[in-house]
């Protein structure tokens, strides 16, 4: 069976103008650079990496908030990359939704909870008010805002951060999408609220049969949420595989450094420093070699001369490193 979403060599370049009156753009940020992966039906696929690695850009490309420079996105066997307008795009918008990071900015402050959640229903052709009310009440109950009547006519400023994020989730889920891009949905929330939102998203996957692209910088959150995981560095996927496999047996030196840098909630444990050199550089006109080369503690001559390594299968997961599997 074909996967729900298949992404092939997806690339997004952002032009940078170095001078105001430059006639031609000569510099590009390679935000997403030849990324390929597939998300199966009912699966939670995680995208992790540091800020600037291209994970949010990838998410926006998948919901068509951005147009790719090249590459293909296939949803349920249909190439949607060049979809521009018309009923096909509308059908796509119903199938694919997004949950944003900051529920203080993603909700319209002048819309009631009902307005916010009912708007996508109207857009997708639910014209009967009674039906919209019923659907909104149903989804509110599903996201844990009960009893629904007490929340329907409130404004965002009357809600806490956790409740707002539940409204944002309800708005995304009310049209019964097949695929949802969740971009750091818990990172703005308080610690004691986060677990509830994560469990809600896991529960909705079971109840509604939805798949997620789950974007996060937090490896522990990714471990909790995701079935499979891709680690990104400067626009490239450097490692991909089943979550536990990637986190317990990381093969790419960048994945290893990321894991080693996560603080451990045990005061008796002494964590060794991660092995990584220097700082992240901007992905403007990157050299052809491995993106991680300037920071890699183990780089060999091969890495300095060969192009960026392809993703190769090693023990259940894909790694883009010439040295993986050698020692």
């Amino acid at each position: 069976m074909s996967p729900l979403v298949a992404v092939d060599s997806l690339t997004k370049l952002f032009p940078v103008k170095r001078r105001v009156f430059a006639l031609r753009v000569r510099h590009y940020v390679h935000a997403v650079d030849g990324v390929s992966f597939a998300v199966e039906e009912g699966e939670i696929f995680g995208l992790v990496g540091e800020s600037g690695c291209g994970k949010t850009t990838t998410g926006k490309l998948l919901v068509k908030l951005l147009e790719p420079t090249s590459g293909r996105i296939v949803l349920e066997g249909q190439d949607i990359t060049r979809l521009r307008r018309g009923p096909a795009l509308r059908a796509f918008r119903r199938k694919v939704q997004m949950i944003f990071q900051d529920p203080y900015e993603s909700l319209n402050p002048r819309f009631t909870v009902f307005d916010t959640i009912a708007e996508p229903l109207w857009i997708h052709g639910v014209r009967s008010l009674a039906e919209r009310e019923a659907r909104v009440a149903e989804i509110l109950a599903q996201v844990g805002l009960t009893p629904p009547e007490t929340f329907m006519f409130r404004y965002p400023h009357e809600l806490s951060g956790g409740q707002r994020q539940r409204v944002a989730i309800a708005r995304a889920m009310v049209v019964h999408p097949k695929f949802v891009v969740a971009d750091e949905p818990t990172s703005m929330l308080d610690v004691s609220i986060r677990a509830g939102i994560m469990d809600l998203l896991l529960g909705l996957r079971q109840e509604l049969g939805v798949s997620y692209l789950y974007i996060t910088h937090d490896l522990a959150v990714a471990r909790y949420m995701c079935d499979r995981l891709a680690v990104m560095y400067l626009g490239k996927i450097v490692e991909v595989g089943p979550t536990e496999e990637v986190l317990q047996n990381p093969l790419h030196p960048y994945t290893q450094a990321l894991i080693a840098a996560v603080p451990v909630p045990d005061p008796t444990y002494t964590r060794a420093p991660p092995e990584i050199k220097g700082d992240v550089v901007a992905a403007v006109n990157p050299p052809p070699q491995c993106r991680f080369l300037p920071r890699c503690p183990r780089a060999q001559d091969l890495c300095r001369t060969a192009p960026h390594p392809p993703l190769v299968e090693h023990r259940d997961h894909g790694v883009a490193c010439y040295l993986a599997g050698h020692g």
Binding site: E50, S51, S160, G162, Q163, D190, V191, S192, I193, R194, A195, G196, M198, D199, H217, L219, A220, V221, R223, Y224, E244, L247, A257, L258, I259, A260, A261, V262, P263, V264, P265, D266, P267, T268, R271, P273, P274, I276, D279, V280
Partner: protein
């Protein structure tokens, strides 16, 4: 004598809707050279507490009671001109969102030199030498002092702000979420740098964070705040091995972990209380599974469960998880 001794500190913010009970009856002490952690969620009063220690609270804040003894002197009674001498030389602070606390139109080095010349009686040349030394200490190339903030990356700005906090050789540095906006690898370096500098200079550190894993790594003793109250305080290892307050236990089980078995998280029901009208009795009782009648009506006593380990709870969990 402790370096800093906070006793029964209570402070409210006056708002149009009434008083916000931001910090209520908080008591703790920091020994010279000690690394103390303070953990809690947003709005629990940890930043208000830090600002109170430096007397940098906004105008609508009212300190209703308590003492802040720094080297035996009550900072709350100090005239402003003497308080100014305590800031930077006695107590300095690394602010939250430090990325934005540098002035964009001045060279980074000059901003630190300005602070030094205001507070220490030293020449420009001497101050420059000191900045070069501090840059070295926090892991920045000394040449960078003649650059502007926009030429720095996020991690570099954070290091510069740490260098600035160390400029006048303070006895206590308050770090308020200094790594929250940073990526993990940069965070790791900053945490290691802070610890190294703290040991070298023998400073005390008050490290404030919402991240219990970070607190576990940086602190020897820690305090847990909830809704304006200090609910648990003690040795970090003791609290992690034997959390006595149900909120501390909840905080620990609410975080997913990279190590060990993958387990289900237990989020807390409800939301932190509105501090305009804090709940009567124990402020945690509406979210607490162990709450009984007494919790709903009377504030719990703040008492020792083992030597040096205090908790404010009617039903402390004695040695439940070893």
């Amino acid at each position: 004598m402790p370096l800093l001794d906070v006793r029964e500190l209570t402070l409210h913010y006056a708002t149009k809707m009434g008083d916000v009970h931001a910090v209520d009856g908080v008591t703790f002490a920091i020994e010279p050279g000690e690394a103390l952690g303070l953990v809690g969620e947003s709005g629990c009063g940890k930043t208000s507490l830090a600002l109170a220690l430096l007397r940098l609270l906004p105008d609508n804040a009212k300190v209703l009671g308590g003492q802040i003894l720094f080297e035996g002197v009550d900072l709350l009674r100090l005239p402003e001109n003497e308080m100014r001498r305590v800031r930077w030389r006695g107590i300095s602070m690394i602010f939250q969102a430090a990325m934005n606390s540098l002035n964009p139109v001045y060279r980074v080095g000059d901003q630190i030199i300005e602070a030094m010349q205001t507070h220490l009686n030293i020449s420009y040349a001497e101050a420059r030498r000191r900045v070069a030394h501090l840059f070295d200490l926090v892991g920045l190339a000394p040449e960078l002092m003649d650059r502007y903030p926009h030429e720095y990356s996020g991690g570099m700005k954070q290091r510069a702000v740490i260098a600035m906090a160390l400029a006048c050789d303070p006895k206590l540095v308050i770090a308020d979420e200094p790594t929250t906006a940073l990526d993990v690898i940069v965070q790791d370096r900053i945490l290691r740098r802070i610890e190294e500098v703290r040991r070298q200079l023998n400073m005390a550190l008050l490290y404030i964070s919402h991240d219990i894993a970070v607190i576990a790594e940086v602190s020897r003793r820690l305090g847990v705040m909830y809704a304006g109250n200090l609910v648990e305080f003690g040795d970090t290892v003791a609290i992690f091995q034997r959390p006595a307050h149900p909120y501390t236990l909840a905080l620990m089980s609410a975080f997913p972990s990279l190590k060990g078995e993958k387990r289900r998280l237990r989020g807390l029901p409800g939301e932190p209380p509105d501090l305009l009208r804090p709940p009567p009795g124990c402020r945690f009782h509406p979210r607490c599974a162990l709450a009984t009648e007494v919790c709903r009506t009377q504030a719990p006593p703040y008492a020792e469960v083992e030597p040096g380990h205090c908790v404010a709870c009617w039903h402390p969990q004695h040695r439940r998880c070893a």
